[in-house]
Amino acid sequence: MTGSAGNAPDEALEVQARGGNLLAVCFTAMASPCEVLSSSADHAAALEMGTLAALEAQRIEKKFSRYRGDSVTAWIHENRGTRIEVDEETSSLIDFASRCFELSDGLFDITSGVLRHAWKFDGSDRVPEPDAIGNLLPLVGFDKLEWRSPHLLLPSGMELDFGGIGKEYAVDRAYDLLAAAHAAPFLINLGGDLRANRPPSQSPWQVGIERPDTDREARMILDLEHGALATSGDSRRYLLKDGVRYGHILDPRTGWPVPDAPRSVTVAASSCTEAGLLSTLALLNGARAREFLEEQGVRFWLL
């Protein structure tokens, strides 16, 4: 699946003017507000960039969403228990997830989605029984599936969830398509995960990071020259029981939320995939998030 010839984005796109000589094209993808900002007066180029980005983000969403019956994820789940051959793109994503599983000693695990059957983070105090989690743990573990690219054998009962890497991957894919066709400075932002090629003429891109649990006005502004930013956080999904807050970041090895996880982590790296993985891992490191990020030597902001 390549390029954008002959397809149209899900909604009609238009170019808006923003302050500071920026042009913006907005669209929706992955259940988030998305935009492509460009720093040039060329409306046609801005619209083209927005269209390219929207098409690629929506393509990836449709292909990997676990909510759609026609996605690759749904097809994988239909064929659990049998050995199937996946396409190249899915294969490279699973390879990447496998490598991250290894590098993180099992903290990052795309088979952990099945735990959502026990945890419903609706702000109530309905914390699951230990049995409910115990019954699901045998179905979690990337090392329990058989993967030898491009052949996958997913045991029945287990699930694959590309949600943890899909959005950042989409940012990088859209970025590559835009960078190949356009030399002008641009920034692509898919719901808070973003990447820029060059700063607009005088100053860096100014990115606002929402502080969780406060109103939208109180933002932190970061300067971004080039590269990617990814944010992971647990602001709105949690359970509260007996004064203990259970965030929605679950440790796949125990099935329980990671205690003392920071509310929001933003990481800067050269690609969004890398930044996204580091911010996810920082959250999974709970109280050690700051130390972990310092060890990795990346720029980060903890809230």
Partner: protein, 438 residues
């Protein structure tokens, strides 16, 4: 230096590079599939995938040898966990090197084939005979490669070449490492083979022959094989331990072609010299144990012990302790070091030969490095993190100094005529090094 198999988790020092490599592979594959291929998937330039470690060391041995040694080492980890490493060393030694002869009350003259030409030199009475024309430039290059063959197994291979005007060496090695017990235990086994070719100026002397007659033969070779078996064990959350046993055997021309032994009479006068004569085989066994403990956020230690014994009668014990203090939130650290070393003498080591016993000699060498001595090293290292180059996270600048002192332990009974002379002056050396890693 060999690549030692180590934990492959994200928390290891090169982990971020591995993650970058994995991301690049994902995005690079995607770009290759797309119609618009040709853009680099990530913003990194060519050299930024490689990490570079470099150092410049200066060595000075009191009044004698001076050496300067620049070293460069570059490594890279690929997306699938393969590691590549290339290194190059250049070292240049010059100064005065002891030639093995004994200090005497009379002046002594020698003809030296070391350095690049043949020189004559004289040693004053009461001075240790040293060859003042010693000059040696050496260049060495090496490469190492390691490949994970499964989740728990890793293969490594390496090669090294070294060349100086009178010595050429090539070494190859290979090893395999297996993790088990949830990567808490790693077992490794490796073998190595070294081939050396000596081409001393004027030819290698016939072993044990008379120095004055200067009987030389052509170039010589020696060959060594070695094996190493090691286990690395995570003991507790703060304590990592490594235990290795190794054996190696060298065969061939094992003499130092420039070293001679003094022949003295009962009155202590030097009557002549002969070239040294060592066995043509040497087998060594050693056991090594290292423990690294993180005592607190800022302070950790590394203690290693080594025992060696060989079939020349030499036994040695080594103990080395590094202390590490991280300061300023890990932006800098200091590392004092202390090392204690002791060895016994080779069976055939003798600082001199009595002329009355000359006929009974078999093997003999007056090379002080085969004698019985102990040595102490005191060292201190300071390092500072600096901003990285390009898209690298950071770099490290370090400076290190060491003081090394050897003191002889055994003194052979000498004829009365040599009393008053310092026959075992020992060795004092200083080493200073600056390093930059990025």
């Amino acid at each position: 230096m060999q690549l030692k198999p180590g934990p492959r988790s994200l928390k290891a020092a090169n982990a971020r590079r591995q993650l970058m490599a994995a991301s690049c592979a994902l995005l690079g594959a995607a770009a290759a599939r797309g119609q618009q291929s040709g853009t680099a998937p990530a913003d990194s330039g060519l050299l930024e995938d490689w990490s570079v470690d470099s150092a410049l060391a200066y060595y000075h041995e009191n009044g004698r040898i001076r050496a300067i040694e620049p070293v460069v080492d570059v490594s890279k980890v690929t997306a699938d966990g393969q590691a590549l490493n290339f290194n190059a060393t250049f070292d240049s030694l010059s100064g005065s090197s002891p030639n093995g002869a004994l200090t005497s009350h009379s002046a002594q003259s020698f003809t030296s084939p070391s350095g690049k030409a043949v020189h004559d030199y004289t040693t004053a009475p009461g001075q240790l005979p040293v060859d003042p024309f010693y000059q040696d430039d050496r260049i060495a290059v090496g490469a190492n490669w390691s490949l994970p063959v499964s989740r728990v197994d890793q293969l490594s291979a390496g090669a090294k070449l070294s060349d100086e005007h009178d010595f050429f060496s090539v070494t190859v090695n290979a090893s395999i490492a297996h993790d088990f017990n949830e990567k808490n235990t790693t077992l490794s086994f490796g073998v190595s083979n070294e081939y050396d070719r000596l081409s001393p100026i004027g030819g290698a002397p016939v072993a044990g022959s008379n120095y004055a007659l200067s009987e030389k033969t052509g170039g010589k070779t020696k060959d060594g094989v070695g094996a190493l078996l090691g286990v690395t064990q995570v003991m507790t959350r703060n304590w990592l331990s490594e235990f290795n046993i190794s054996v190696d055997r060298f065969k061939g021309y094992l003499n130092d072609p420039y070293k001679i032994t003094s022949i003295i009479d009962n009155a202590g006068n030097t009557t002549g010299y002969e070239f040294e004569s060592r066995p043509d085989q040497r087998t060594r066994k050693s056991a090594y144990w290292e423990n690294r403990v993180g005592w607190s956020e800022q302070f950790s230690t590394a203690l290693s012990l080594r025992y060696m014994s060989d079939d020349w009668g030499i036994r040695s014990d080594t103990a080395q302790l590094h202390l590490h203090w991280s300061l300023s939130n890990r932006e800098r650290y200091i590392e004092p070091t202390f090392r204690w070393y002791r060895q016994t003498a080779a069976d055939f080591y003798t600082p001199f030969i009595l002329s009355t016993q000359q006929a009974a000699t078999g093997y003999e060498s007056a090379d002080s490095r085969l004698g019985a001595f102990h040595a102490l090293t005191y060292g201190l290292k300071y390092a500072q993190k600096l901003p990285g180059l390009g898209s690298r996270a950071e770099s490290e600048f370090s400076v290190r100094a060491e003081y090394y002192q050897q003191t002889f332990d055994e003194r052979m009974a000498v004829p009365a005529g040599l009393s008053g002379l310092d026959l075992y002056p020992g060795l004092k050396a200083v080493m200073v090094q600056v390093g930059w890693r990025f």
